[in-house]
């Protein structure tokens, strides 16, 4: 006879789980009681949101399912932002929540929340366990849905009496999904259509999103792009999918994309999308997005098609299968000479990708930092101006080398996520770049970093503002800086010291000379090479802005390239 809690843990082990993140509380205490000797290591964060973001970081860095645990009521509701984040960014995540005992459900008992209902629209699949007998099937099915197709979040809510109850346990089970007509995928017929479209095209481009990475199709995609040799760019989650040194690569596209990428996307007559949903941050005004283009959309999740702009040809299926099929067909044909178009799209403006020494001090600082990183480092960015600067400047060839909350844009993501990444990759340099606003949203996770002795390298770009909001206020709200002033920030260096984490401050003046002084370079090198956790606070000019910028609702061709008020 095993308790429900033991069955849960055995089922987790059967799914390959050896690490979970969480925070204990009343209703989930039986599960915590069973942890010791289960083979599942638990990482105690200092807030449930820290736990779910850490689980996400682990999942994003490895491709495995991240697992977060919390108790009922406030514990469960504190997971909600992470669940929404995982839904938006296609992160495989299983959240296990304790629930009040079965007899109390629906009575507004102490710490009772309908977490099943609360998360219904945010999850890919969820269950409230009703009997101990269900536990093995529910966990197997939950992990199946978290991993399958477009990955996403799952919630499994278990009443505390189910965790305490005992039953004969014959072992974990496997889940076999029912076949559905909706699971139909692309047949071979699409390939000759795309070749025909390419042969008619004069200005084709390729856009790479997260789906290319999630499908494990990166090497195949890179070979295809090399053969296509057409201007190519990436969404924020597509960064790293294409080697930055590829001669046809134009960097990031969208609201803060490069001029070259946005211009090519506006001018193209054939847009090939590989695993991106074309959200508003990529398209700008949808009615003026790629106005001359036909769109071919490679996508695993049909629900992502035509949300903002209709595509002419949907290629539904796993990119690991559809890309090779298309590539094989392509190799049997010759394509028009796109060299004139490539020269225009990838011409002088491509130099913008690496104007080291020309940029403002904060960008120079990030350039210095990134250029000194060991190979295969992982950079995490929180949300805001520093996120976009980092996305613009970090040039990684590693598909999982840049991690950020892109779809939801959840401030406070990066620090706890870095905990998960560092645990997944203990020998990798993990660099966490945050703003002063976002860092304070999960600052308590410094305690987790310290307790585990994780050598996470943390950077705060401190402009003493909620910088991205302030930038919008400056450009679109007549400099009415309403409630974005953080000039009374605490001393982050002293705070880190209180958590027993070494920290120091770097003034912006250190970046005014180029190349930087040996002293500054040595400081950055020591920071990155330290075997301990480190915090570097970089003083950023309060009114530094991120450019290029496509104002909300504008077309990609209407980028602001410098600081001038929008009309």
């Amino acid at each position: 006879m095993l308790k429900g809690a033991d069955i849960v843990l055995q089922c987790l082990r059967a799914e390959g789980v050896d690490l979970v993140f969480g925070y204990p509380g009343g209703a989930i205490m039986p599960l915590y009681d069973a942890l010791e000797g289960s083979g599942v290591r638990h990482i105690l964060t200092r807030h449930e949101q820290g736990a779910v973001f850490a689980a996400e970081g682990y999942a994003r860095a490895t491709g495995k399912v991240g697992v977060a645990m919390a108790t009922s009521g406030p514990g469960a509701t504190n997971l909600v932002t992470g669940i929404a984040d995982a839904k938006m960014d296609s992160v495989p995540l299983v959240c296990i929540t304790g629930q009040v005992r079965s007899a109390l459900i629906g009575t507004d008992a102490f710490q009772e929340t309908d977490v099943f209902g609360v998360t219904l629209s945010l999850t890919k699949w969820s269950r409230l366990v009703r009997t101990i007998d269900e536990i093995p099937e529910v966990i197997a099915e939950g992990f199946y849905w978290a991993r399958s197709g477009r990955p996403g979040p799952v919630v499994i809510d278990i009443p505390t009496d189910m965790l305490k109850a005992k039953k004969e346990f014959s072992g974990p089970v496997k889940f076999t999904p029912h076949a559905r007509p909706a699971d139909a995928k692309a047949e071979g017929g699409f390939t000759d259509t795309i070749v025909a479209l390419l042969q008619q095209s004069v200005k084709p481009v390729a856009l790479v999103g997260a789906g290319a990475k999630l499908s494990g199709a990166i090497s195949r995609l890179r070979r295809l792009l090399d053969d296509l040799n057409i201007p190519t760019f990436a969404t924020v989650h597509g960064l790293g999918a294409v080697p930055p040194e590829a001669p046809y690569y134009l960097g990031m596209v969208g609201m803060h994309g490069t001029r070259a990428a946005n211009t090519a996307l506006h001018d193209t007559d054939l847009l090939m999308v590989f695993g991106a949903r074309l959200d508003d941050r990529v398209t700008g005004d949808p009615s003026r997005f790629a106005p001359h283009a036909k769109i071919v959309h490679f996508e695993i999740d049909p629900a992502q098609l035509d949300r903002v702009r209709a595509c002419e040809l949907a290629v539904i299926g796993n990119l690991a299968e559809t890309i090779p099929a298309f590539h094989a067909e392509l190799q049997r044909h010759s394509l028009p000479d796109f060299s004139d178009w490539r020269a225009v799209a990838c011409g002088e403006e491509r130099a913008e990708l690496d104007p080291r020494g020309l940029a403002q001090p904060t960008i120079r600082f990030l350039d210095e930092l990134f250029s000194r990183l060991p190979q295969d480092s992982v950079v995490l960015a929180d949300v805001g101006q520093h996120q976009m600067w980092a996305a613009q400047r970090y040039r990684s060839s590693s598909p999982r080398g840049f991690i950020t909350s892109g779809g939801l844009g959840a401030m406070g993501f990066a620090l706890p996520a870095a905990v998960g990444v560092q645990l997944a990759k203990p020998d990798t340099c993990v660099l966490c770049v945050s703003g002063d606003g976002g860092f304070q949203m999960n600052i308590q996770e410094l305690a987790t970093v310290h307790r585990l002795g994780l050598p996470v390298k943390m950077v705060i770009i401190d402009n003493k503002y909620l910088g991205m909001v302030r930038q919008w206020q400056q450009l679109f709200y007549q400099r009415n800086y309403a409630e974005t002033d953080l000039s009374d920030n605490p001393d982050f260096v002293e705070i880190a010291k209180a958590y027993k984490i070494h920290s120091f401050r770097l003034k912006e003046d250190a970046m005014r000379e180029f190349p930087v002084s040996d002293d500054t370079g040595d400081k950055i090198d020591r920071f990155l090479r330290s075997p301990q956790p480190e915090l570097l606070v970089f003083d950023c000019a309060p009114e530094a802005n991120v450019f290029p910028m496509v104002p909300a609702g504008a077309a990609l061709s209407e980028m602001l390239l410098e600081e001038e008020p929008a009309q």
């Binding site: 099943f116 209902g117 219904l120 629209s121 890919k124 699949w125 969820s126 269950r127 409230l128 849905w145 477009r150 999904p177 029912h178 559905r180 007509p181 909706a182 139909a184 692309a186 047949e187 017929g189 699409f190 259509t193 025909a196 479209l197 036909k294 071919v296 999740d301 049909p302 629900a303 992502q304 098609l305 035509d306 949300r307 209709a310 595509c311 002419e312 040809l313 949907a314 539904i316």
Partner: protein, 98 residues
């Protein structure tokens, strides 16, 4: 008004997920009728939607784990130049080359 018929397994939350696909878009649901079938459950929804929303709803319902089939009574077939989930490859190819 557009009438949709959806067949689904009556697992926890599936009906709510079907309805939520409409309500999250701010759509009124003037008529809804759900009942148990021989093996599965059926729901009929009447919604005031445009052609683009039809395609989006169709695909979002199909992305729900326990939805088996989505059908719609529509006046002008798939009038848009883009394919919907479940459209044949031939339809998609013709649309793309149009």
């Amino acid at each position: 008004m557009q009438s949709f018929q959806i067949r689904y397994r009556n697992t926890q939350g599936t009906l709510m997920r079907i309805l939520n696909a409409a309500s999250r878009r701010g759509l009124d649901i003037p008529t809804v009728h759900a009942e148990a079938g021989e093996r599965d459950h059926h729901i009929m929804l009447l919604l005031d939607v445009n052609q683009k929303q039809v395609g989006q709803l169709y695909r979002e319902w199909y992305s729900i784990a326990d939805v088996i089939h989505v059908g719609a009574m529509h006046s002008a077939a798939w009038a848009s130049p883009y394919p919907v989930a479940g459209a044949t490859q031939e339809e998609a190819r013709l649309a793309a080359r149009a």
